[in-house]
Symmetry: C2
Subunit: 418 residues, 2 copies
């Protein structure tokens, strides 16, 4: 008898038949006595179709109007799912973001949720209904429709769960949980029964596309128990079995955590390296180099400044692949000449591999184990970056799979920990 | 320098190219110094596609959820049109029904507009923007999305024009105005430069599908000058020329009205006749016959009760074709036996032909001219029904074209009246 939030992705909502499946799964939870709020995505392909029309009309369409258009995909989904539930005898009602309302700022296309009014949803739940709420969208202080950006339905679901004080937020996806690394790279990769939200945050930010990163931040901030589980199982598997499946994103306090030092190996190919040679080592130089990049809205990830030799240093950083050429142009134009640095050198053929684990905090020696493993494989480390629960290395792209497999084995991730 | 409302149908909004055309036409009016509010329909086929998905899931989907789903078609249209206008340098903003808000009752699928708040639209117009408002929809007192039913965008446009005190409401369609009769039946049919809203109301209710009937009622109630004109002309024809084209729906007071007695010949094939023979002629018998039909939500059009002979009479009425069989069943079950009438006789092969004209009020002899014309063509009149500005006859379906042509000629409708 709990309040549970379900989230279903676009693939799960991709056809009438699949929507029926979702309805059957939701109905099962409702019949088991739970109060259920469902947050479905738009039918797969629909958001792209809508945005495609807009971009056919204009190369630079208004973001407000794009949100007006794109938000309809989820609106159709909630209506169809309500009808599907009603057709199997479950009382259900759908709401758009503005009807709840889900209040956001006015950053069209990447709005942030500011508050969720739970009164209307709660009244419908109390009346015995399943409540279906559009993901991905909200309404700004002036009554304009906003969207949260790609993957925003995950964030909507977690935010609704937080606002309602839900017992758990179930994110149904086409994978059955979070793995120690990508099983396509390491066949031995193992599903984690639990992961802390901090580890999940690092995994998500490193390209594990299971959950949108902002939804993980939300889960952490509001301590929402969030579970990633499969939407591909038969919809009528027992509720108890489903409730224990997938991966639970939880909090450090949890006494049942696996006692692993490292939880997973994450990686990302979406990185390119820029090095500015012979930089005069004086205060403010990092800002002067990165200022123009920030002004151009380019995300900088790893940043390294070498030890200064004779008042000169080398300065390296990574940017997303898609921004590689633009970054080189900006550096040539606004850094090299104006700051009197040496050559600007770029390398698009790099990747980032990271070991992530909450246990790292209390265990020394993780970094040296990582570096030793890569050394034994003959892999040169180009850059290193660390956080409390993560060590990342930038290496040549061609060594990525090798590095991931070696590290996965070195940290014993293929073995179940009791 | 007037405030003008434009309405574009689904065909006009049917593709990216056509939306560009609409934008060009709207931009022309804006550049000529007018304040423009645009009400576009959903892209052609879109509403059917959306409702089709819902009906695939359930045979009897919830009307509230259908409105949730169907209303998205217009929401996409307004966004796309705003982007198209912006891309030709016109500042434009779109609003959904609930954003305006357009307030309606809660009769999902056939809601009635109760009020329109003009403040948000007016503020945007004052700021120099073209305002684009979703047709077909509104919001009920509880914040649920409602739709007005098929063709509801016409009504939305006229209602917005009424609320804003617009100088004129231009309904762009794929015909270039209202004709004296259907040109496919009478090649001589002539476009009317003006028609009164009462005549238009009769024409619309008789199957002239140019305008949705509720939009004409709205135009009449709030005295909105409404013009039906072509969306197929080149979008860059001069504003003055376009402003004088099509058919203006106006009011009796207008001194420039054509002085015709009859404005047009309307007709409808969507009728079937039911006759109850040997009905005891006593008070309340009409109600007892038609009560079960009304209870079954079947629309009854023409009703005729013959002069009683020996305390018995015959009672005839017409219903839409689609309700013919159901009506016969109801009559057999609930009227024949219970009321002790004679046989129930049906005839699905009938049609209704009407002469419509505001001038009829002050001219005697229209009815006799009509009956004489039909007599001369050897057409038997089965039923007659009259209103202040209309005479309708029910005749055998096979004579329809013949009757329409003969009446069109008899009333001299092919001739221009100065």
């Amino acid at each position: 008898m709990s309040l549970i939030v379900h989230k279903y992705g676009g693939t799960s909502m991709g056809s009438v038949e699949r929507i029926r499946n979702v309805a059957e799964r939701v109905a099962k939870w409702h019949r088991a006595g739970h109060q259920v709020v469902v947050v479905p995505s738009a039918m797969s392909g629909e958001t792209n179709r809508l945005l495609g029309l807009a971009h056919e009309i204009s190369e630079a369409p208004s973001r407000r109007e794009l949100d007006m258009i794109a938000s309809t995909g989820e609106q159709v989904s909630v209506g169809l799912l309500a009808i599907a539930l009603q057709s199997v005898g479950i009382d259900a009602v759908s709401f758009t973001g503005w009807q709840v309302p889900v209040r956001t700022d006015d950053a069209y296309g990447k709005a942030r949720i500011e508050s969720i009014d739970d009164s209307r949803i709660r009244a419908e739940l109390t009346a015995g209904r399943v409540v279906i709420v559009t993901g991905f969208q909200g309404v700004d202080p002036n009554g304009n429709i906003t969207t949260l950006g790609r993957g925003g339905s995950d964030t909507s679901a977690v935010a609704v769960a937080a606002a309602m004080g839900a017992a758990e937020c179930l994110i149904f996806t086409d994978v059955d949980g979070v793995y120690t690394t990508d099983p396509r790279v390491v066949p031995d990769a193992r599903r984690l029964a639990r992961i802390t939200f901090e580890e999940m945050l690092e995994m998500a930010s490193l390209g594990s596309k299971v959950l949108q990163i902002r939804s993980v931040e939300f889960a952490g901030k509001y301590q929402v128990r969030t579970r990633v589980l499969s939407s591909l199982t038969p919809p009528d598997i027992p509720v108890e079995e489903e409730a224990a499946s997938g991966t639970l994103i939880t909090f450090e306090e949890d006494e049942n955590m696996e006692k692993a030092v490292i939880s997973g190996i994450a990686f990302s190919r979406d990185a390119a390296k820029i090095t500015v040679m012979h930089v005069p080592d004086r205060p403010g130089i990092a800002f002067q180099i990165l200022g123009p990049i920030a002004a151009a809205n380019i995300d900088v990830d790893v940043i390294i400044q070498n030890q200064s030799v004779g008042g000169m240093t080398d300065f390296s950083f990574t940017v997303p692949h898609s921004e590689y050429k633009r970054t080189l142009e900006i550096m040539e134009r606004e850094v090299r000449g104006p700051l009197g640095t040496g050559e600007i050198v770029g390398d698009p053929d790099i990747c980032k591999v990271s070991a992530v684990g909450i246990g790292m905090r209390s265990h020394a020696g993780v970094a040296s184990e990582m570096f030793r493993t890569l050394y034994e494989e003959g892999i040169n480390i180009q850059m290193i970056s660390t956080s409390e629960i993560k060590i990342s290395v930038v290496i040549a792209d061609k060594y990525m799979e090798l590095a991931v497999r070696a590290l996965h084995k070195a940290f014993g991730l293929e073995q179940e920990i009791v």
